[in-house]
């Protein structure tokens, strides 16, 4: 019998298990650790997207930078409707694409800075024969902004890589939302989502790309996305860490 029964379990999760108590409540040390994590997440929400750095990281796959109709972060937090609408001066032109890829700040630009280009690099080579539009970088964006972007580009599908709401253990988690036939007015049940792309604790880039490529292929074949499209094809990636 192990002296510390928590030894194996703690290694498998970042969940805050086995915390120190003071009576029924939490100890001073634990309370301070929680306060520090909350402070870090709060700060991640308010970090602005460095669009130039994202474009540089995307390299030759990078396309234009666009904005939603949101003026600033305070408005972004209270007006998701404006975060779904494309600014009128977007300058996107229509082409013939199977897939539009949008890299969007969402609620954590930190996640985009850390992971977005690497996911694109892992995914695009897996989409052999696809006409993929140059990757659009979007500021002050919600998921549904991808619908307007894809419509403007004339793409059959859209994949939005977006910073998820920061948690205390994960200020940098990236989500990927896939929509077939994107157009304004699509609802959430018409999308498929792969969340927690965040190596080494969440999904690795290769694992995320593998699942996304399988989903995209199946979505294209069946000409639909959302709850009717279950990702039964790809195996569940192994847990890391």
């Amino acid at each position: 019998m192990s002296a510390d029964p928590w030894e194996t379990l703690r290694a498998a999760t970042r969940a805050r298990v086995g915390l120190g108590r003071a009576g029924d409540g939490l100890s001073t040390a634990e309370n301070l650790r929680l306060a520090a994590a909350h402070a870090q997440a709060r700060d991640a929400v308010h970090t602005p997207l460095d669009a130039d750095a994202v474009v540089a990281a995307l390299g030759e796959r990078a396309g234009p930078v666009v904005r939603s109709q949101v003026a600033d972060r305070t408005e972004y937090l209270q007006r998701p409707d404006l975060g779904r609408r494309l600014s009128s001066d977007h300058g996107l032109s229509s082409g013939e694409f199977d897939l539009a890829v949008v890299v969007a700040d969402g609620l954590s630009a930190t996640a985009v800075h850390e992971h977005a280009a690497a996911v694109v690099d892992a995914l695009v080579p897996r989409l052999e024969g696809w006409a993929v539009a140059p990757v659009v970088v979007a500021e002050q964006a919600r998921v549904a902004l991808g619908d307007e972007i894809a419509a403007a580009l004339g793409a059959s599908m859209v994949l939005v890589l977006i910073g998820e709401r920061p948690g205390m253990s994960a200020p940098d988690s990236l989500g990927a939302y896939l929509t077939f036939g994107p157009r304004p007015g699509r609802v959430d049940s018409e999308r498929n989502c792969v969340s927690n792309i965040r190596p080494p604790d969440g999904l690795t880039y290769d694992a995320a790309a593998e699942v996304l490529a399988a989903l995209l292929t199946e979505s294209f074949r069946r000409q639909l996305s959302g709850v009717e499209l279950k990702d039964t094809g790809a195996a569940l990636p192994p847990a890391a860490g």
């Binding site: 379990l9 029924d24 409540g25 306060a35 007006r79 709850v227 990702d231």
Partner: protein
């Protein structure tokens, strides 16, 4: 029907019932976002003054979402019990608020009244209540349900143990499960939000918790919170499904946004009921709701978010749920901006659900982009404890590493149980005692009983 009134020399007009309800609603960001909120504090009170004089009967004559267009309205109107409504039929909304607070409205009276109330009636009355009223009326309103444990009894506060993991890793989930059990959590449900909707993963998680339950001989029920269509598929395969889960909302269009219909819920409810997996009851559904979900799906019909939330409880009550909880701070600051709005919304939801006969719990929580912190969740938990809330959500350290938001920690609930003298569900309490996790003073000692230690290796 429209109304006009004057207050402080200004004249105010309210175009219809939904306008009157929306402008009567205490300030919250979601109603501002939807463009339905009162434009001034004075207009809000003017609306409340008109609302107070409105006969309850009016809610049976004017729907906030048209009957022809919406199956939730049809469910509400068609299932209304006129006999149960009789004791309050002649009251106005203001008179109904007074009656709810009266000594005459005791627990038995309120239980008998529930089928006679519509969501819009209870939402209207709650808009005229302060926090103290919301607590006082909820405290004497009781909804008791059961499967392997009994939820909602007086003097009890149960917990959902939520052992989420970002990659659905079995060992990681076991770590959080064990941590919760060691802190006396899990008597409402062990409920996992999976990272993926993949049926094979959902099945593996169901089997993981069911296996732990049998090894520990513990009275718990499990749930993997996946879409109802996935659960139906797994039920057909013979998976160990205790509870059918679904997120629901207060309009047909919002439910379509969740990809769910009332017929699918009927089918799943029937399929899970046939398994007879309960020991002390037969409630086999679990629903989550939250103010702002209809607006988020652009399916709000110009109705305020609190009234729509109450309508979601009408959907829930049609399927005899074991548990329903509002995820009150989860949806974000565009719907409930700060701790003050979250506190009030949590108490409104809890009261409205219970008045309608729904077994309410609350996910006492906030996101990192809301203006809220742990002081706000402490305050809501304490007031819900005083209000006789059925259950709350708990995660290790209050930090959900899968959904990226803060809920309550196991320790938060231990503390409030001691502060307010609340106990776990009786069957679970007995099990905790049998494995040494409850002392004579009802406290949970810091030790690892042998059966749980075995799960850990």
């Amino acid at each position: 029907m429209s109304w006009t009134t004057t207050l402080g020399g200004h004249s105010y007009r309210f175009a219809d019932l939904r306008d009157l309800l929306a402008r009567s609603t205490p300030l919250r960001s979601g109603d501002v976002l939807a463009g339905v909120a009162a434009e001034s504090a004075a207009e809000r009170v003017a609306a409340q003054t008109v609302l107070a004089d409105l006969p309850l009967q009016h809610f049976l004559d004017e729907a906030v979402v048209p009957y022809e267009d919406d199956d939730v309205t049809r469910l509400i109107m068609d299932s209304h019990d006129a006999d149960a409504f009789a004791p309050v039929r002649s009251l106005t909304v203001g008179g109904f608020r007074d009656w709810l607070l009266s000594w005459e409205a005791d627990t038995a009276t309120l239980s008998a009244l529930a089928p006679g109330l519509t969501p819009e009636m209870v939402a209207a009355a709650s808009k005229l209540m302060r926090v103290g009223d919301l607590v006082a009326v909820a405290r004497k309103t009781r909804v008791v349900t059961g499967l392997r444990t009994t939820i909602g009894l007086e003097g009890r506060l149960a917990t959902r143990l939520q052992p989420n993991h970002p990659t659905d890793d079995a060992v990681g989930i076991t770590a959080s499960l064990v941590d919760g059990l060691l802190h006396g959590a899990g008597d409402a449900v062990v409920g996992i939000n999976p990272a993926t909707d993949r049926p094979s993963t959902v099945l593996a998680l169901l089997e993981l918790v069911d296996d732990a339950r049998r090894r520990l001989d513990a009275p718990i029920q499990s749930c993997v919170l996946t879409h109802v269509t996935t659960t139906l598929e797994l039920l057909e395969q013979g998976a160990p499904v205790d509870l059918v889960f679904q997120s629901v909302a207060g309009t047909q269009a919002a439910n379509r946004g969740f990809g769910v219909t009332l017929d699918q819920l009927r089918e799943a409810h029937a399929a899970a009921s046939e398994l007879h997996r309960g020991t002390v009851g037969d409630n086999v559904t679990y629903f989550e709701t939250g103010q702002g979900s209809a607006l988020s799906a652009d399916a709000h019909h110009g109705v305020d978010e609190q009234t729509l939330e109450a309508r979601a409880y009408a959907v829930c009550r049609a399927f005899d749920p074991l548990l329903v909880n509002t995820v009150v701070g989860f949806i974000g600051p565009e719907y409930l901006y700060d701790g003050k709005q979250i506190l009030r919304a949590g108490l409104e939801d809890h009261l409205c659900g219970k008045l309608l006969g729904v077994p309410m719990g609350v996910d006492v929580c906030y996101t990192n982009h809301a203006e809220a912190d742990a002081d706000d969740t402490d305050t809501l938990l304490l007031t819900l404890g005083a209000a006789g809330c059925g259950f709350v959500i708990t995660v290790p350290g209050g930090d959900d590493i899968m959904l990226n938001y803060q809920s309550l920690s196991f320790q938060d609930v231990l503390q409030v149980r001691q502060t307010l003298g609340l106990r776990p569900a009786p069957e679970f309490e007995a099990w905790l005692g049998s494995v040494g996790l409850l002392d004579d003073a009802g406290r949970v000692p810091q030790l690892v009983p042998e059966p749980i230690r075995a799960l850990m290796s």
